[in-house]
Symmetry: C2
Subunit: 206 residues, 2 copies
DNA sequence: ATCGTAGGAGTACAGTGTACTCTTACAAGA
DNA sequence: TCTTGTAAGAGTACACTGTACTCCTACGAT
């Protein structure tokens, strides 16, 4: 009976993402998002009940890009690797959302979608019951930790480069290791770390 | 020449931690911390330049509890497991700080301390150069991800219990797996996840 | 043409971090 | 013992946040 909505949830998520990508996650606010949409601040509350809901919208919008239909015939571990890369790729397009991803991973539709996909592949690999549960959590924990290390790591503080110049008498190994790590690209670091986890899974009872 | 400080950095960290433990991380503010210390809000800035610095103080204070002298004669993987448990224990005493831990892991003294300890053990295990770097990062990524999953996971949303009651037609595996996961204690989950990573490391070239 | 419903705008308030400006306490030098 | 320089600490003020609450207004069904 009343007037129809002029904005879609997708519009809103896109606007919020525009703020985040352009001015950083800290700049995300109800006001800044509403401004981009060309509506009043409070009008935004007609679409989302909360700031939290707005953030959830952003997370799901980004995660919508992960491809979850894995119908290929690869071995399970290769398939898992590809699926994880897929998540990394989607998140890598908007690195600043990583903290949001972490905060809303239990309430996000997108997270559930790719968790289900992971589980499907684990099931193919013969994982069942508790073993499958542990495998998923371990995988997700690594994924989440690695994404953070990579994307929000360099932000606060100079990151690895600074570690390489630490006082070697106090942190001898840390300094040396950071030096060695400088030649490793983020891609390679992620892939090899994931490889370690997957190799661990391969030797796991199931 | 001038008057001497009436508060130590330890006092400040303790006060902030008291706020966090008592009223949650969200309640941490310059005002609330200063109130506990019995000083004016701005007086706090005589001790810390920033809110960030205050948070760093808290992180280091909590991480000071991790025991880093691992002079035992266990095999390297068992020692790593014990060291990781040590971190988990220290953080577990103040679960609400996990987000702070993540945000400041590059600038925190405490993080560097136990990273160095990890590296020492990895070196004992024969890891060198890039292999050691990758091993450390993978370990830390898992550790960070797992701590978050455990401590701030249940906070937003009902967590795993809710997942177990998901629509099984939409997320069949997720629902089933969540059900299986309910019998796993956080302790066991962490230990087994860590075991997977360590087993992966054991099969890694070095 | 009318009316009810919901969309959108505006104001206001409590809370945040912190810049800036005081006043005040104190240890060293005379 | 008195003076003085310096830093400790208090207070005010401002820009910013999320959002409760109230108003006006556009529009689809009758």
């Amino acid at each position: 009976m009343p007037r129809s909505r002029s904005l879609s949830l997708n519009d809103i998520a896109t606007a919020a993402l525009q703020v985040i990508d352009g001015e950083g996650l800290a700049a995300l606010s109800m006001r800044s998002t509403a401004a981009i949409l060309g509506i009043g601040t409070m009008s935004l509350y007609r679409y989302v009940v909360d700031r939290d809901a707005l953030e959830r919208l952003v997370v799901d919008h980004v995660l919508a890009a992960v491809d979850t239909d894995a119908t290929s015939r690869e071995p399970w571990d290769q398939k898992l690797a590809r699926q994880a890369e897929c998540v990394r790729l989607a998140v890598g397009a908007h690195p600043a959302i990583v903290p949001l991803l972490v905060r809303h991973r239990h309430t996000s539709q997108g997270v559930k979608r790719f968790a289900e996909a992971f589980l499907r592949t684990l099931a193919e690999g013969g994982f069942n019951g508790q073993h499958r549960a542990i495998a998923l959590r371990t995988l997700v924990s690594y994924l989440s930790g690695a994404l953070q290390a990579q994307h929000l790591g360099p932000l606060d503080g100079p990151g690895t480069e600074a570690m390489a110049t630490l006082p070697p008498d106090e942190y001898p190994l840390l300094a040396a290791t950071a030096q060695a790590a400088q030649d490793i690209s983020p891609d390679e670091e992620f892939r090899r770390g994931l490889g370690i986890v997957l190799r661990g899974l391969a030797h796991e009872p199931r």
